[in-house]
Symmetry: C2
Subunit: 302 residues, 2 copies
């Protein structure tokens, strides 16, 4: 099978699943909450063109375990809230100071810093409201809901995303250093992607072997995703990326290309994708979406 | 019984319980997480002299239901993480721009805005890690853990604390207006205090009547607490309060004294405390700490 048909299939899968996630999110936030500007600010960033990669990985992983993706859409969708909150806060003037994201002005450019911070806070909080508050399908155990809350909060917290972001800020304009790079990337991006993939086996109550295989897949794909992001930041066209090319370089971020060079970075990403796919080699064709998404990440343009 | 012995008893109760909460929190954060500055910033605000009112209300409420407070210390302690996160974010230059809190420089004055925002994010996230990750006592049901996660996230989110803070910012220097005042106070402060009190009956799996009574107590005491805070901001001595007196007035915050005057505000607070206590009038002496805390709030100086 050549790469093109794979990618076409994958795009259709991604489109279908992202429509399901978006539809849930739109319904969930349909009622106007007050003050209106808070919800507006949340939805502005939530519907700013995100690919819904994390929810889609959770849905694909649940399918790979043998489940019906529709059972877990609300839980999967919370990953997008957590991801969006992190983008809003990372973009703040006191952090990465980004004016654009996905071709649109960043949240604080539109709503001001105070509302942007609070919209981020609200998105993070709302993720836990959904995780704890949605009607639970009969085939999903209470204790596994608690386990995914733990999974997501740990991926997002002091040993995950937040730690990665703090270290990222501390490392600006510092000498390239492999250990620090690894620390930042595994926490800032890979942790939540890994958690997304792990939602599947946790909610499906899969065997230890399935857990281990999908955790390995999540680790590999999560790290590869960030490396490719780093490469795209240097190589990508502004129009594909939606932000000025080279914005990481401008402030001397600790990136893979800066530490390893572009060619070596690409090799590492390719190897990680290969490893990720081989870790689920014994899975049935139910895992094909996971395999295709992994390959797709490698050739994406934004 | 005069008011003084009541207050003395109450102070002892508060001291004992706050030591238990602090001891849990110190143990929990004993391991150094990296980068060190993140955990330092979190602990700086977490141990800046907070009264632990919210955890103590949860413990007292659980006792009022017939439970042993020690069973739920970790769950109760998470309320302090959520409260501390909200203080750090509220104090930011782009929000209330406060340089001091409880007599100490605010988080961003010590660690800078970026780390302060992220320390707040991490505290909020860690609350959910503890709620979902702590060993569950055998007498507490899985589904009730999920219910308190929902309770806390809803009190903190777009229909609770965050909404109150956004409306508070929007209302600065606006004409006094009772409806807006009510909106802000019930969400910004009362919602999390109510949730704290409701933790007791949820975790103890109490009857509907007990839930209703304690919810009423939580609503009344939560609102009274904020009204008294508003009064103290005008009347309190700087040394008792740890921040400049009149800091709310300076920026024309929507406060009870501004809308109703000081005397009327005090009357409303007293009435709310009376209502709160009478809503638990049928409870046994196990509810005495809740009764005493309510009276104590009325005469506190900081």
């Amino acid at each position: 099978m050549g790469i093109e048909p794979l990618v076409m299939d994958c795009k259709e899968y991604i489109d279908t699943k992202s429509r399901i996630v978006d539809s849930f999110l739109r319904d969930y936030f349909k009622g106007q909450s007050k003050p209106a500007v808070l919800q507006e600010a949340m939805l502005y960033s939530l519907f700013a063109g995100g690919k819904r990669l994390r929810p889609i990985l959770a849905l694909a992983s649940y399918e790979a375990c043998g489940g019906n993706a529709e059972d877990i859409v609300p839980y999967a969708a919370t990953l997008e809230l957590v991801h969006t909150y992190s983008l809003i806060h990372d973009d703040l003037p006191t952090m990465d100071n980004d004016d654009f994201r996905r071709g649109q002005p960043t949240n604080h450019k539109v709503y001001g810093e105070a509302v942007a911070i609070l919209a981020g806070d609200a998105l993070l909080t709302e993720a836990f409201s959904i995780l704890s508050g949605m009607p639970r399908p009969a085939n999903i155990k209470h204790e596994n809901i608690i386990r995914i809350i733990r999974e997501i909060s740990e991926a997002a917290g002091i040993n995950g995303m937040v730690a990665g972001q703090v270290q990222d800020l501390l490392s600006e304009n510092k000498q390239p250093d492999r250990q620090t790079l690894e620390f930042i990337h595994t926490r800032k991006t890979a942790a939540l992607i890994r958690a997304s993939v792990r939602l599947g086996p946790i909610l499906y109550d899969s065997s230890r072997e399935v857990h281990t295989a999908l955790t390995h897949y999540g680790n590999s794909v999560g790290l590869a995703f960030q490396i490719i992001d780093d490469i795209l930041d240097i190589e990508g066209k502004t129009e594909d990326l939606g932000k000025p090319v080279g914005s990481d370089e401008r402030i001397n971020k600790m990136t893979y290309p800066r530490v390893y060079g572009i060619e070596k970075s690409r090799e590492i990403a390719e190897q990680l994708i290969t490893d990720g796919i081989s870790s689920i080699s014994t899975f049935s064709s139910d895992a094909d979406p996971l395999r295709r998404i992994a390959r797709y990440l490698l050739i994406r343009k934004n």
